[in-house]
């Protein structure tokens, strides 16, 4: 019967790269939020302050 292994631990180098990838994804998502915020402000202009009656 083969040895049962549920997971293989990551090497320190793989853990480091995974952390780097996670940081890169977080920064990309933050940049995307900033971009869409900027698009909204530019598109709406001063109308962004208007509130419906």
């Amino acid at each position: 019967m083969p040895t049962q292994i549920l997971y293989k631990p990551l090497t320190p180098e793989q853990e480091k790269r995974r952390r780097q990838r996670n940081i890169a994804i977080a920064l990309s998502v933050a940049a995307l939020v900033a971009i869409f915020y900027a698009i909204t402000l530019v598109r709406l202009g001063s109308n962004v302050f208007l509130r419906p009656d």
Partner: protein
């Protein structure tokens, strides 16, 4: 029952795993940063050709979206071409053939970036620009990479349209429409691509031959390719000057386009006439380098002329 057998653990699936060896720099490499920078630059020039300047923030976001779209094309190209990339010295160290990344990771990365780039450009600028960017990605990945590249020596001629589209995307992002000036920039890059790429292919013919890619020197032979380089250079010189002749660019552009066009013709003639030995290789590489300088200078002058006009008019 084991969830993962021992024999599976040493292998990486096509879609990668938590144990991926890819670092963020590998994902950057997938974007082909040098190709991406040329796309940004030519798209910026196209944007400045628009009759009215675009809002700087929208312009910057549109350029970013175009850059990401170009990068996504590169990632999808590396996903599809990983089998032949490992056979060529020039491409063997790319993330997939080097074993640092699974093919599926590049595919997912390219598809996600493509979708975000097109949607962002559509929402930030307009849907003509977004649609053109989507078409550019489709053309580069499906028409060029999947179809033409491995089937015909005309691959980079027809496929060159993908590299020529960014100025039109940039113009559309700024103007919301297309006109003759954007078509001129498209034509300039389209006609520039064959002499540029074939000069490199003359030197790298062995690489392409090993990978089974039917580049012109491998199919038509080096001498026929040299003739084609000369003919395209003869065609390119007047096309390069057209933006000035038709009034879309100033006299500085006109002078540089004429001088540069002459340089391309002389370079094409040198490649055509020097056919043997190390001198032939050096001449082809020099023509390859000069063609980059030629295109970069033309677009740089166009950008400077347009920015000067905008600032003086403001």
């Amino acid at each position: 029952m084991s969830l993962v057998s021992e024999s599976d653990l040493g292998q990486q699936s096509d879609f990668g795993s938590a144990a991926s060896d890819a670092s963020p720099s590998d994902y950057v490499a997938l974007l082909k940063p040098r190709v991406m920078s040329l796309s940004i630059f030519t798209a910026f020039a196209g944007m400045l050709m628009a009759p009215h300047p675009v809002h700087p923030m929208i312009g910057a976001i549109a350029l970013l979206a175009i850059a990401v779209g170009a990068g996504a094309s590169g990632a999808l190209n590396m996903w599809y071409d990983s089998d032949i990339d490992r056979l060529m010295a020039r491409t063997a160290n790319r993330p997939i053939p080097a074993g640092r990344m699974a093919r599926g990771e590049a595919l997912a990365f390219g598809l996600v970036l493509s979708a975000f780039a097109v949607l962002t450009l559509g929402l930030a600028a307009n849907w003509l620009a977004g649609g053109l960017l989507a078409f550019t990605i489709f053309y580069y990945v499906v028409v060029y990479t999947m179809w033409l590249k491995r089937s015909t020596p005309q691959n980079i001629v027809i496929g060159g349209a993908a590299g020529a589209l960014p100025p039109m995307v940039g113009y559309a992002a700024a103007a919301g429409s297309l006109d003759l000036s954007s078509l001129l920039l498209f034509t300039l890059i389209f006609v520039w691509t064959p002499p540029h790429f074939w000069s490199l292919a003359l030197v790298k013919a062995g690489d392409y031959g090993r990978a089974g890619v039917p580049m012109a020197p491998n199919v038509w032979g080096p001498d026929a390719t040299r003739l084609q380089i000369l003919l395209y250079s003869l065609l390119l010189a007047p096309i390069g000057a057209l933006p000035w002749i038709l009034g879309y660019a100033g006299p500085v552009y006109g002078a540089i386009a004429c001088l540069g066009g002459l340089g391309m013709i002389l370079g094409g003639w040198a490649v055509f006439s020097r056919r043997e030995g190390d001198l032939a290789r050096k001449t082809a590489m020099r023509n390859f380098g000069f063609s980059i300088l030629y295109l970069f200078t033309l677009f740089a002058v166009l950008v400077v002329e347009r920015l000067t006009t905008i600032w003086l008019g403001a």
